[in-house]
C-alpha cells in the first residue's frame, strides 16, 4: 500500500523534475533491487556531500541499496558523517539527539507494529561508531536486551569523522588522533561480541571491500529483525580525511583490514537459523 507515496498524481506527473520521475520509474520501490543490480536502477541516494573516497558514504550507499523493502523502511540515524548521505536519501530518515538512535527506533518500531500489524515496517538504525559504541552504547545495548526488532548497522570509520578526527571507542589501540595525542590506550570496544551476548539473533562484521557480502548480511539482518529479534551489522568504512590516506586507497585499506583484524565474521542464534531456513533458505541471496 505504501508504494502509493511514490506514485505521482496524474495531474502533476509531467511536472515532476527528472530525478523524481527516475525514482518512480527506475527506483527500488516497486521491485526491490539488490547490490547486484547497482548501476541499473535509480539509487535511493543519488548524490552526497561526503569527502572524496569516503568509506562511510560507500557503506551507507551499499546499505540502502540492500534494503529488502525500501518502500517500507525507516532509517533512524544520528549526528555523524553518515548524516550527509542519508539526508539526501529517498527514504524517511530521522535524526534527533546524538546517540539516542536505538531508543528512538524502539518507540518507532513498537508503534508501527501496533499501527500496521500486517505490514512489515523495517526500522533500521544506521550510524557511526561514536554514535553506537560511545555516547549511545547504553541505549544500543538496552534495545538489544529488550529484544527490540530493529536492525542496527554501524558504519565504523574508527574515528569521530564529523567533528574533526577525534579518538572513538572503536579506534584501534595506539592510534594517534585528536584527543588521543599520545595514542589511544585501550582496545577497540568489542561491540560485535557484545551484540552476541546481549540478545542479537544475528550479527555480521564486514568491510566496504566486500559489497556483495554487505548486500547479503544487511538483507539478512533486516529480514531476521522483522520476526526474530535484534540484529547487528558492523561495516568497516575507512575515512581518508582523518587517517590522511589518498581517497583512491579506501578499498585497498578495507581489503587489507579484512585480511587481518577486520576479518569477516557472522553469528546466528538457533531460533534465527531455524526461521531463516524455513523462510528464506531457497532465496537467491
Amino acid at each position: 500500500m505504501s508504494i502509493k507515496v511514490i506514485k505521482p498524481t496524474a495531474a502533476f506527473a509531467s511536472l515532476l523534475p527528472t530525478e523524481y520521475l527516475e525514482l518512480v520509474a527506475d527506483g527500488p520501490y516497486a521491485s526491490p533491487k539488490t547490490i547486484n543490480d547497482l548501476g541499473t536502477f535509480k539509487e535511493i541516494i543519488a548524490e552526497h556531500p561526503h569527502c572524496a573516497g569516503c568509506g562511510v558514504a560507500l557503506g551507507v550507499r551499499l546499505t540502502v541499496a540492500s534494503l529488502p523493502a525500501p518502500a517500507d523502511t525507516l532509517i533512524v540515524g544520528t549526528a555523524g558523517c553518515s548524516f550527509f548521505g542519508l539526508a539526501q536519501a529517498a527514504l524517511n530518515y530521522s535524526c534527533s539527539a546524538f546517540g539516542n538512535q536505538n531508543a528512538v527506533a524502539s518507540g518507532l518500531k513498537r508503534m508501527l507494529k501496533i499501527r500496521y500489524p500486517d505490514t512489515d515496517k523495517d526500522v533500521v538504525v544506521l550510524v557511526g561508531d561514536g554514535g553506537i559504541a560511545d555516547i549511545g552504547l547504553d541505549l544500543t545495548l538496552h534495545s538489544w536486551f529488550r529484544r527490540e526488532k530493529i536492525a542496527t548497522i554501524m558504519v565504523d570509520n574508527e574515528v569521530y569523522g564529523n567533528t574533526g578526527g577525534q579518538e572513538s571507542g572503536m579506534t584501534q589501540e595506539g592510534q594517534v588522533l585528536n584527543m588521543a595525542p599520545k595514542g589511544k590506550n585501550f582496545a577497540k570496544i568489542p561491540v560485535f561480541e557484545l551484540a552476541r551476548v546481549s540478545g542479537c539473533v544475528y550479527g555480521a562484521r564486514v568491510t566496504v571491500a566486500s559489497p556483495k557480502k554487505i548486500g547479503r548480511v544487511v538483507r539478512k539482518a533486516i529480514l531476521l529483525a522483522r520476526e526474530v529479534g535484534p540484529t547487528y551489522v558492523q561495516i568497516y568504512t575507512p575515512c581518508p580525511t582523518n587517517f590522511k590516506f589518498p581517497p583512491q586507497q579506501t578499498i585497498n585499506i578495507a581489503k587489507k583490514a579484512e585480511e587481518g583484524y577486520y576479518s569477516f565474521q557472522e553469528f546466528i542464534s538457533d531460533d534465527a537459523q531455524a526461521y531463516w531456513e524455513k523462510n528464506f533458505a531457497s532465496s537467491t541471496m
Binding site: 505504501s2 507515496v5 539526508a87 524517511n92 530518515y93 535524526c95 539516542n100 531508543a103 524502539s106 541505549l139
Partner: protein, 381 residues
C-alpha cells in the same frame, strides 16, 4: 477494563457528570490517562513520579493502553517517546527533578520535531546534595526548551490539565509538546477531592495525518523527509532555513494561547484584581497564597491573587491587565532562583514593584505567614 466510548473533548471536560473521589495526585494521573485514549506510555522511576507511572502501568495491564515499558534512563525514555510520536501515536510519560535534567536534550528536540508528546513533571530538588523533596527548580531550565508548560495547583488541575494537554498539543497549528508540571509530594502524595468524568468515556484518538509535518510511517508523502535537524552546511541559506524553523516553533506556542483559553478557561485566573497588593503564583504556591490572603483580609488588608496556569506561553498581556491597579506584586516560589519572579518582572516592565519572594526550597513547606508578612510590608509601604 471498562468498555469505553469516544466522546468530544468538550463533553468529557465540561458536560459529562463528574464523580468526586478522594484520591492522591498520582491516582489523578491514572484517572486522566485512563480517559486519554493513549497508545503508549514509557516509564522510568524517580521519586515522586514513580507511583503515577506504576498506576499507568496497571491500566496498561488492564488494557487501557496499547504499549508500555520501563526504559533504561530518562534520556532513553524521552527518545523512545519521540520515536513513538514520530510513528503517529499518542504518547505519555512522566519524570521529575534529576530525571528532567538527565533527559534535557530531548525536550528541545521534541519541540523542534513538532512532536505532540504530553509529559508530566513531578518536580523535586536537583542535586547536589541529593534531595528527593519538593522544589520547582527544574522549571527554570525548562522555560526555553520550546515546550508548552502548564502548572497544576492541585490534583484537580493535574487531572484536568493532562487530558486538556493532549488536545492542545495535537492541534495542527500547535503540535508541539506540552509539559504538565505539578509540585511533587505536596500534590502527588496527598489526598484531595477530585471530580472526574465517568470511566466509560475517553478522548477521540489522535489523527496523525493532520499534523504539520509528515508522519514517519511511509504511508504519507513525501518519501524523502527528515525529522528533525536538517541543514548542516555553513551558508546563509542554511542559517535562514534553521532560523525560520525555530520561529515556527515559537509561533506554534503562540497559537496555543487560544486553545489553552478554550480548554482551561484562560492562561491565568485572577481574584480581586483591583487590589493594590497582588500575589502572582503558580502551582502549590497558589494554595499557600490563598491562605495568606484569607488572613490578610481578616486584618483588613486588600490583596488579590493571580494564579498562572500557563507559563509557556506566558500570559503577559493578561497579567498586565490583572495587575494594572497594583502598587506591589508578590511572587512566592518553591525554588531558590526565583524564575517566576524573573518572568513576572519581565512581563510587567518595571511598571509595578515586584517582590521576589518569599522563597523556600529543598523540600521546605511555605507557611502562609511568610507570605502574610510580605503582604503586610507591601500594604504598609
Amino acid at each position: 477494563m471498562i468498555e469505553q466510548r469516544v466522546v468530544a473533548p468538550e463533553y468529557l471536560f465540561n458536560e459529562a457528570e463528574r464523580e468526586e473521589q478522594f484520591i492522591t495526585g498520582s491516582e489523578a494521573v491514572r484517572e486522566a490517562i485512563k480517559r486519554a485514549n493513549v497508545d503508549m506510555a514509557i516509564s522510568y522511576p524517580i521519586t515522586p513520579q514513580s507511583e503515577s507511572m506504576h498506576l499507568v502501568g496497571d491500566i496498561y495491564a488492564e488494557g487501557y493502553i496499547k504499549e508500555y515499558f520501563r526504559g533504561e534512563n530518562e534520556f532513553a525514555v524521552m527518545s523512545s517517546v519521540a520515536g513513538a510520536a514520530m510513528g503517529g501515536v499518542r504518547v505519555f510519560t512522566a519524570t521529575g527533578g534529576p530525571g528532567t535534567l538527565r533527559a534535557f536534550e530531548a525536550f528541545p528536540t521534541w519541540a523542534g520535531a513538532r512532536l505532540p508528546v504530553v509529559c508530566a513533571f513531578m518536580t523535586r530538588g536537583i542535586n547536589s546534595p541529593l534531595s528527593i523533596q519538593p522544589d520547582t527548580l527544574e522549571m527554570a531550565y525548562m522555560l526555553d526548551t520550546g515546550i508548552i508548560m502548564l502548572h497544576a495547583e492541585n490534583s484537580q488541575d493535574l487531572y484536568d490539565m493532562i487530558l486538556q494537554a493532549f488536545m492542545i498539543a495535537e492541534k495542527p497549528d500547535v503540535h508541539i509538546p506540552v509539559g504538565v508540571f505539578v509540585d511533587g509530594f505536596f500534590i502527588t502524595h496527598t489526598r484531595d477531592r477530585v471530580k472526574i468524568a465517568p470511566p466509560d468515556l475517553k478522548l477521540p484518538p489522535y489523527n496523525p495525518y493532520s499534523a504539520p509535518v509528515p508522519v514517519m510511517d511511509m504511508e504519507n508523502p513525501p518519501i524523502r523527509q527528515m525529522r528533525d535537524p536538517f541543514v548542516m552546511k555553513s551558508n546563509f541559506i542554511s542559517y535562514a532555513a534553521h532560523a525560520s524553523w525555530q520561529q515556527e516553533i515559537l509561533a506554534a506556542a503562540e497559537r496555543s494561547r487560544r486553545h489553552i483559553a478554550h480548554y482551561l478557561g484562560n492562561l491565568l485566573e485572577a481574584e480581586n484584581e483591583t487590589a493594590p497588593v497582588m500575589i502572582v503564583a503558580s502551582g502549590t504556591a497558589v494554595s499557600q497564597s490563598r491562605e495568606a490572603i484569607e488572613s490578610a483580609r481578616q486584618e483588613g488588608l486588600d490583596v488579590g491573587l493571580v494564579k498562572l496556569k500557563s507559563l509557556r506561553p506566558f500570559p503577559t498581556e493578561e497579567l498586565k491587565a490583572m495587575t494594572a491597579n497594583a502598587k506591589a506584586v508578590i511572587v512566592p516560589e518553591f525554588n531558590r532562583v526565583g524564575w517566576l519572579a524573573r518572568e513576572v518582572r519581565a512581563a510587567l516592565e518595571a511598571k509595578v514593584k515586584v517582590v521576589g519572594g518569599p522563597r523556600v526550597f529543598g523540600g521546605m513547606t511555605m507557611p502562609p505567614d511568610l507570605i502574610l508578612d510580605e503582604i503586610r510590608r507591601c500594604a504598609n509601604e
